[in-house]
Symmetry: C2
Subunit: 102 residues, 2 copies
Amino acid sequence: MDIERSISALNNPMRRRILEWLKDRSNFPPALPGHEDLEGVCVAYIQEKAKLSQSTISNYMGLLKQAGFVKAERHGQWTFYRRDEENIQAFLTAVKDELLKM
Amino acid sequence: MDIERSISALNNPMRRRILEWLKDRSNFPPALPGHEDLEGVCVAYIQEKAKLSQSTISNYMGLLKQAGFVKAERHGQWTFYRRDEENIQAFLTAVKDELLKM
DNA sequence: TCCATAAATCGAAATATCTCGATATACCAA
DNA sequence: TTGGTATATCGAGATATTTCGATTTATGGA
């Protein structure tokens, strides 16, 4: 739990927005045939919704992953990203512990 | 509650450390004579502990204030800063609501 | 094997943040 | 009013972040 890295990853409106989008798979187009069982979303779908370049989104997802907010799973040529709820919860607890007085 | 500005203010180790120091007035030298009733801490004390320049600390305290994490109270030539516990709590709630799935 | 597609990495320009010393402002005391 | 002390603001250089297009790497299919 590197709070420095996590806060830094959150310090960007689009990255926060992506984390929100990933709360609900239905924010994105349906899964590709043969990947219906996966909960994650591929980079291209996120890019399309964010309207930023492919390299930027790939970079953003890498930062969110390093921060522990998402998990990546490679299937063939696709990387599927999904939220890491446990780590997100752990981050919230850590921030609370650091910020709150008692 | 401008979450953008707040996260930005937190995105710096020394500013977070100052917020922690301010949890307990005894992290700093005793109040100056005639100011024993004030809970806040003057800029000079914070600067001494942080070992950064006066202008940097003044700037940091301004950012923390804009973010709502501290309140400033001017008494004579001193500005006394103290935590704004209500706003800190409000920020934590806002981050939780934005980050957490349910 | 060769090509197409998805994603990651690289290099760079634009912008923002950090941090300083110098200066300005506000206030108090003599 | 003059001088001293505390804080805020200004301007600038160093460093970091943002975002892009181009390239590289990985994979799968014909």
